[in-house]
Amino acid sequence: MSVVVRTVARLLLAPVAIFGAYVVMHGHVTPGGGFQGGAVIASAIALAVVAFGAQRLRKQKETLSVLEDVGATAFAVLAFLGIGVTFFYNALAGTGGLFGQTVPIGPNPGALNTGGLLPLMNWAVGLKVLAGLGSMVLLLGLLGGDDDR
């Protein structure tokens, strides 16, 4: 792509990725969550693929693969944490520890340190979605066309 596109992409990549990370991290407080934030970060990867060409990102395929493995494994492990009661039981909610603060019943401004396993699962699913969609776009760019501009 042209110099204009590459410069704008270089400017926009970090804000888009940071906004996606924000959506993932605040999934249990504000609208959004792992899927949506992961898709936003994957759109940053798609922007990079379009602007810089898939061949320059060929090395990142392994990184995305590892990230997807980590996300899927973390999600399953977090689901197994509450196996004492049932699969997908929220074992950390309301215990006072990590993300264990309780919220007041009714309308309230919201607190970040709540939700139990929900924020951790949001991170896991966010990793999985960004790696999945990102590697899908990267594979389409790498294997789809012969011309690499």
Partner: protein
């Protein structure tokens, strides 16, 4: 044959028209027990303000697991279809 086609078209059109006219009004579901449970209890049971996230990752966690599997299968399908097969 031609009249059969027109009759079938009219029947389908009438069915869709009836479904559009006699649909339930928006925001008045027939059964509200499940919705009320989630809306009233999610704050004390999951200690999360976001009821949607509470449903997605706690009450219906299996559904999210299935969605993650669907995503994995989509990546697998892209890699499988676009792969350059060695001959």
């Amino acid at each position: 044959m031609r009249w059969l086609r027109i009759a079938a078209l009219l029947v389908v059109f009438g069915f869709l028209l009836g479904a559009a006219v006699w649909t339930r009004p928006f925001g008045e579901p027939r059964a509200t027990g499940m919705d009320d449970h989630f809306i009233e209890r999610s704050q004390e049971e999951v200690s999360a303000n976001n009821t949607v996230t509470a449903v997605l990752f706690d009450y219906r966690g299996f559904d999210t697991l299935g969605e993650a599997t669907v995503l994995f299968c989509a990546v697998l399908g892209v890699a499988l279809v676009l792969r350059r097969w060695s001959r």
